[in-house]
Subunit: 354 residues, 2 copies
Amino acid sequence: MPNQNIPHPPTIAIVGVTGLVGAQALQILAERNHPSARIHCYGSPRSVGKHIDYQGIQLHIKPLDQLATDAIKCSIDYALLCADAPTAVNARDLLSHTQTTIIDNSSAFRLDPDVPLIIPEINAHLLALCPRVVANPNCSTIMLLAALAPIRQAIGIASIQLTTYQAVSGAGKAALAELRNQSQAYLDGNTIPPSVFPTPCAFNVFEHESPIDPATGFNGEETKIIQESRRICNDPNLQIFPTCVRVPVERAHTQSIVIELDAPSTVAQIRSLLDCPGIKLSDPGAPLTPRDAANQNDIHIGRIRIDPASHHRRAALWICADQIRKGAALNAIQIMDALQSDKASRAQTSQAVV
Amino acid sequence: MPNQNIPHPPTIAIVGVTGLVGAQALQILAERNHPSARIHCYGSPRSVGKHIDYQGIQLHIKPLDQLATDAIKCSIDYALLCADAPTAVNARDLLSHTQTTIIDNSSAFRLDPDVPLIIPEINAHLLALCPRVVANPNCSTIMLLAALAPIRQAIGIASIQLTTYQAVSGAGKAALAELRNQSQAYLDGNTIPPSVFPTPCAFNVFEHESPIDPATGFNGEETKIIQESRRICNDPNLQIFPTCVRVPVERAHTQSIVIELDAPSTVAQIRSLLDCPGIKLSDPGAPLTPRDAANQNDIHIGRIRIDPASHHRRAALWICADQIRKGAALNAIQIMDALQSDKASRAQTSQAVV
């Protein structure tokens, strides 16, 4: 819902508009009827000069080195970076002498102490400091912490264990094609060797493909979840032990979560805490799968259980969320909404002072 | 390996020989060159009168009501029941006046205090009591406890949490067909509604299809794992909290396990404990997937990690095992081996006494 205090919708640059996250950001803007004149699209050399459809209008895809000039000339308020970390660093440098606020989806700035790492449901207050760059967390971190936030606030969480079922689209468009091609070959009795992933993805499950730290055995996705969760929860000792796994699902990640609570609880209490905006609770006993959560904004939560042997202090949750929406593009746009809302409040306050 | 103390291989009945577990039992006997004359096959009315290939020999599939006569006439030593629980009860009753020992793969007798529930690596000593019926645990219970047994014995385990990635073949042949048919339809842009499973299985993950206990929210598979593990470990208070999930994999189950240890440990110590018969350890950092474990007898274990925030007391393991072999047919045959070995020891002892 657009904020009523803001007279003009912001002018937005999307960097990496042809990727899964960039295209999703554009689609969310279309769902909100954001005016096309206030959207600027940038792509890699492969996409530059092409067009991308936006509500029937063909938006021109511009080269990244035009971003700085456009930022000043067109008064770009926000640059949504939907590309890799090197591109993000490059865009940040290009925009260093502009008024554009950067919201970055890559891992480039997530652990930078000068850059707030934001899940609006948890730490939007950090945006009041008017950061020039804001980092969007890893998709798995976002869905995990956004789902647990109401429980953490009301009851307290002593430790988190999670095992993931991550969709291949988290690894991009080529991964989706690999899943489809390998699946067809498998059904035909043939084999297509893996190229995007290190192991066959069709009719298989496998450890997340990010590099493994030989010292700890953790893969990069697991390390990201630990480090980012500790930053976002502002708790460097947060007990969190993830196992990250890919499954042959096209879209929407699933997590099986077990939490140790600071106080005894019940399924009814947890359900009541989770009955809040941004979360869709499944009915008890009803099936919940990633295919239900695909292309949805809400985090879907089901299978809330209390371990009967835990004196009501250990709970399990099953959560499914579209990792390209809430796990990336939507969270970035929600960060932009929160920044806009802060800006509007400040404008009102300064008007009142005048 | 056949036991050298036994002059004659036992005579074996396989009940439900055309099912996935029965056919697997027959295949394991073939791999051991068990003499075909000492194998009797029984099937449902649909299969009776047909033949099943055994090393190029066509074995006749007989009706179940011939089992009692055959048991006496042909001196059947062991009946491997590879059918559902009602059939198991029926076969037990049919064999009540015979010398045949029953090894049952169904859930019929698993919680019967008069029937030992056996994973040979853990509690084969209970077979010394010459039980008339022995129960084979649930496939998920077998792979979990067999993998953890060396750690439990050497270090002690305070609690177990597991999240599963279970192959559809655990639900039988029709489930395999459903996965293939739905997958092809999905790739073609069509939909085939689920019939074996409550939700679409292709390109999806979903809660195990066993009935959900409305009081606790646990599904039947989870309850089985808890109850059977407590029996097998002889610890009614064993802390174990499972989440059971199906994935679009044809064969071999995977489990993501987190254990709290009774004493601090290291990855090196755990690897050294798990270096034992029946377990195949993956090299650190090497990928391990259910497709690697399919059609293998060993339980494959990889991704052994210690949570650095746990003072070396929390460990994770990733295990893959063919649930039709070690999770069912192989474990049943290993129970038979242990019973044979006991019988041979007793024969030797009584000969020595004579």
